[in-house]
Amino acid sequence: MAETAQATADNGAGNHQDTNGLEAFVYDDKIVRQFAWATVIWGIVAFLVGVIIAIQLAYPEAGFGISFLSFGRLRPLHTNAAIFAFAGNGIFAAIYYSTQRLCKCRMYSDLLSKLHFWGWQLIIVSAALTLPLGITQSKEYAELEWPIDIAIAVVWLVFFGGNFLMTLIHRRERHIYVALWFYIATIVTVTMLHVFNNLWLPAGLVYLFQHGEMPSAELALKSYPIYAGVQDALMQWWYGHNAVAFFLTTPFLGLMYYYLPKAAERPVFSYKLSIIHFWSLVFIYIWAGPHHLHYTALPEWASTLGMVFSVMLWMPSWGGMINGLLTLRGAWDRVASDPILKFFVVGVTFYGMSTFEGPLLSVKAVNSLSHYTDWTIAHVHSGTLGWNGFMTFGMLYWMMPRLFQTKLWSKKLCAMHFWFGTIGMVLYILAIYSAGITQGLMWRAFDESGRLTYPAFIETVTVLLPMYWIRVVGGLLYLTGALIGAYNLFRTWKTRPEKYEEVVHYAPALSKGPIVDPKGKERLHANTALGVAGDKVLQGNWHRALERKPVKFTFWVIVAVAIGSLVEAIPMFLVSSNVPTISTVEPYTPLELAGRDIYVSEGCYNCHSQMIRPFLWETMRYGEYSKPGEFVYDRPFQWGSRRIGPDLAREGGLRDHNWHYRHFKNPKDVNDKSIMPRYPWLLENTINFDEIQPRVDSMALLGAPYGELLLDNNAVKHAQEQAFDIAYELQELGGPSYEETMDKKVIALIAYLQRLGTDIKKSEPEAAAAGGE
């Protein structure tokens, strides 16, 4: 055992001066232990919720007709828990451990570390409370409402980013190792993505400032994005894709470049390749977002740009994957017996598979088949369970015994976890790949007479149910593996020493001023002025200097990621031809707006798209393809990303009010094969009409021309009149008495659904008349 000592002269930052000019310091491993345990606990929560919603898809009654257990509300909880709670805490644990050691110094501020840890856990708990209550922005992976968004920005940038950057500045190792580059890219890019995708107008706050009162707690948390329709979609998928890139990829690559060499006990295969990997990846990845919107109302130039850069991503991604696997050269014999290395090998292999499949799915022809199907879900899970999950588990198994200053309790249980996880993943993704491809092919199948082979959408759903059950089994196996892992780590923790020893490390402080290569200096003196400049470039001093200056390095990373973002966003926002307006498209009525907010709150976008692509098989099934100008009042956009149920873009007028009423009450009443959950609370809960005027006022502030509806509480009166009309029609159609339903949420939702996609069917005079009502 190395010489150890109790840190008795700790100055608070773990540093003190030794008489020989070396500085003594102690790493803050407590914060790493806290993040590591949070990873384990939240991982189990995320997997458990995943299994619950997987069961609900195969057996909808598993929601029990309870609002906070419905699929639309739990699915965002699952994705947020997996990404931000499990993977998030995992990368924080990995970063806090490796950064201190790579910088040879303690984290800059223990206080910031603690604020980061507890702030992040508080955010997770807030998400776990608000999402099941239907408090959501409905933007995938950015669902959390505005107060939590602000908390995320502060915790991420100030507590985490500030602490990390200051640690780099105060480091004792001159060279900034490549893993730290990936961490820098993560911090700056996630900040940029989070801030610009979450620019909103809080409806409750606006009303509070205008009228000095807040109608309800629900409204206090409600916000509308400043972007609408096509622009909102572009921003959301710029965010959504790059959340995968810079939250689930770059930090894990940093993790790979640190923990894989550690576990294999050999340096990375090619450090040169890691440098090229880094710069290529951070520059290219940011462009790829629009490939999530192929054949939608997004302008074609943007989606083509997304596709081209996605295909280019193959090279850096595979460069990184090959670099990771070849790091094990000469150590493959150990992979057979070391389950930790197994986790890393399978993790990196899944990275290779996912980053091959991602560009493949971005190719328009492939995307026309895969989009809105379960294929995307299989792709996402091969990345999350395989790459993120297994890299995290490998990291935890390697790191936690060291943090507990003991040995791993059971290697056998570790191996068992590995096999449960691997078999679970394979079952999951194979079943869901099959489901996705089956769905896509059935949607586009024509018979000999040129008609859709499966015109009833439900036929393309029920055929998937066996695969959904296999997914449940796969998910259960993965969850079981995680539980075994948690037990093993718990037993490892139980064998820790009574008091942790704090190893005192010594290292010289970082010398001031640049280190000039003497050989290079001689050459420089011998050259002319032009030659000197050229020689500097050829020697690479520009990059060498960059590697040693974290602030400048961070600046150039920002430049690299900002270019792709600006090139896509500026034309989209400033070139008016991107979103041609349609004269008959008007703002939603106050009641429809309230209904739309219920649609958002219930997470209907998790199963239903509102985007008809310009394909014959889609227009025959759903109607006229969607136009950019139809969405100018959609805040947030509701295009969705999958179709567990049919598209709703042209739902308006297709079915009568009573059909919708019965459908929400119990979908099996109108279709006995339906897998949609029941929504009994929509039939019982009342509309808060006091909230309607503030909602309309906020939309007006964002540009919706509401005219006289902004005066004298007219929006409320208009909403009550429309609610009465719909409730009365419902009664006439054989539904319950209008007195029973006219103030219920289901009426607002029916109003919204009956409006969907109808504007472009109106003639201009009809639209003008409707607007003047």
Binding site: P261, K272, C414, Y506, G540, V567
Partner: protein, 78 residues
């Protein structure tokens, strides 16, 4: 003339084309630099990850944690 009008007059392909040229220039610069770095420099950088846990002790108690690493690697007693 507004910013929107100015940008609308420009051909949209200008933006990605300029960015692509910038990227290619930056990519080749990084490529050339990475490939021309000395072997020693690259090895030193790559080995940071393996040396980062060493206890660089003061002269009066020179020790490193190589032994600690090998001792600490052990796992499993079940």
């Amino acid at each position: 003339m507004s910013m929107s009008e100015i940008v609308s007059f420009l051909d949209l392909s200008v933006f990605p084309s300029v960015a692509l040229v910038f990227f290619l220039f930056a990519f080749f610069a990084v490529l050339v630099w990475a490939l021309t770095r000395s072997k020693q420099e690259i090895e030193d950088a790559a080995n940071i990850v393996l040396n980062d846990d060493e206890v660089v002790a003061p002269r009066h108690s020179i020790q490193n944690n190589t032994a600690a690493r090998s001792e600490g690697e052990g796992v499993s007693h079940v």
